[in-house]
Amino acid sequence: MLLCSPEGFPLPLALAAAPRPARLDGLRIGLLDNTKAPVDKMMDYLADRLRDRIPGVTIFRIAKKHPSMQAEREVIEAVAQNADVVINALGD
């Protein structure tokens, strides 16, 4: 019996990941949150721990405008300009 697959092929989207740094010393770490409570307090705590642990680190905080929507272009561009690595946290 021959059947047709109902799965549409995932459209190929070519994106490359930025290279990972070997060390975090002196880098800018972006903290991107989805605005849902209590992610802001989680990020406060995480920022403190990162500052305590990593010499010379700076923290860049930013949030999406809506928790269930993809990050807006200006948010993505701000992260790209102001952070070397990013932690994206989802509160729910």
Binding site: M1, L2, E7, L15, A37, P38
Partner: protein, 421 residues
């Protein structure tokens, strides 16, 4: 993570903190973060093995040879379950002959990509839509409707990405307006949400199969809906335009009489509004507004389009009181408000003050929390049969409805004559 995989980053590092997170305090979250801290640091510094996404799309449906035993129907059902396809209910085997027959009334090429469905970004080709339509039990007359609905769901403002993965119980509701509702056997009168011998059920089921099989919203893995919802199996209605005292939804959105439209709404399940006693418009609207004003719905938090489905009898009473659609929407905007005192102190402080400080930060407890940002954001349609029951349909919030005409590949609207009517 499905999107990361599609984008060529299947190993994008993630750290999962065990639930619950929402509704808890740092007393319980901090130890979880401490336990995950080294993994977070490692995730930032460990090189990623890059797996390139496929270089070329395969746009024709794969043919699968299923060894046939004594009962081909049972063999097909077992194969569906083994591959993780479908909604858990038996499906019609999509043989090439059935799929070809499903394409009868469309003039698009089978490999035409109608949309990429999030989060898997699967190509919803005309053929893939036809395959899922066959499996759901649809007839060829339904395919143009499904194509329009898929295109509408992929509009950015509909936010399919969020709808597919949220813990909320949202599902696309399809509202059909126009002359082809009858041709397609879509019920907008008594018992329209089912059950019954009409085609609302199979059309909605085809939409769900597409969201599962093409969009990749596999429950538990991607679809994180805390409870799921019966409306996720199927959720389709027609507007009962003949019984409405007002312009229809399609007329409000600028479509002419000969055009049939489908509107997709990111909706919760409906909640009944029983009012057998009010004989004045304002009396009935007091009951309706009061029934809509519930504190636990997404519409109090996000810009939204709350949907009111009025029965013909209720709509006649309201129109008899002098209301047109605009004045009705203004009335709902003013009266369907949730007293702030119905929210817990934690919700007021952690959410309402934070999201809407200009409205609620220094407000008294009896201030009304709105369900929409503007009166025109309320959606009102007339549907159902005789009886004193209407329905309120809260929405997901982070979504706006999208209306599309049911049209040929060149944009001409389908007419009854296209289906031999």
């Amino acid at each position: 993570m499905t999107q990361a995989r599609v984008l060529g980053l299947p190993s994008l590092p993630r750290v999962v903190l065990p639930h619950p997170i929402g509704g808890t305090t740092m007393d319980t979250i901090a130890p979880k973060l401490d336990a995950a801290f080294e993994d977070i640091l490692a995730g930032l510094t460990t090189p990623l093995p890059i797996t390139a996404a496929g270089s070329a799309a395969v746009l024709r449906a794969e043919r699968i040879d299923v060894p046939a035993g004594d009962d081909a129907w049972d063999d097909a059902q077992r194969e569906f379950m083994r591959r993780g396809w479908g909604d858990g209910l038996p499906m019609v085997p999509p043989t090439p002959a059935r799929v070809q027959a499903m394409l009868r009334f469309v003039d698009h090429a089978p490999d035409h990509v109608v949309a990429a469905l999030a989060p898997r970004m699967g190509a919803a080709t005309v053929e893939a839509i036809a395959v899922n339509a066959v499996m759901a039990g649809c007839r060829p007359v339904h395919l143009p409707l499904l194509i329009a609905a898929v295109h509408a769901m992929a509009e950015r403002r509909f936010n399919l990405y969020g709808i597919q993965a949220t813990t909320h119980c949202v599902s696309p509701l399809l509202i059909i307006n126009g002359p082809l509702a009858r041709v397609m056997n879509i019920n907008g009168s008594t018992g329209m949400f089912g059950p019954g011998p009409w085609d609302n059920g199979v059309v909605g089921r085809a939409i769900r199969l597409l969201l599962l099989n093409v969009g990749g919203a596999v429950p538990v893995e991607i679809d994180k809906s805390t409870m799921g919802h019966p409306a996720k199996y199927t959720f389709v209605m027609a507007e009962n335009e003949d019984a409405s005292p007002w312009p229809s939804l399609r007329a409000e959105r600028g479509y002419s009489d000969e055009v049939t439209t489908v509107t997709v709404v990111g909706a919760e399940g409906p909640h009944n509004i029983n009012d057998h006693e009010s004989i004045t418009a304002d009396g009935l609207l007091k009951m309706i507004a009061g029934s809509m004003a519930q504190p636990g719905q997404n519409n109090v938090y996000y810009a939204a389009e709350p949907l009111l489905i009025l029965s013909p009898e209720h709509s006649a009473t309201i129109a008899g009181g002098g209301y047109d659609k605009d004045s009705l929407k203004r009335k709902l905007f003013e009266d369907a408000r949730v007293p702030l005192s119905m929210f817990s102190r934690e919700n007021i402080e952690r959410r309402m003050h934070r999201k809407f400080p200009e409205l609620y930060k220094n407000a008294p407890d009896d201030v009304g929390v709105r369900l929409a940002h503007r009166p025109e954001d309320f959606m009102v349609v007339v549907a159902g049969g005789p009886g004193k029951h209407s329905m309120y349909v809260p929405t997901f919030g982070g979504t706006l409805s999208v209306t599309e005409s049911i049209a040929h590949s060149d944009g001409r609207p389908y007419l009854g004559s296209d289906f031999g009517e």
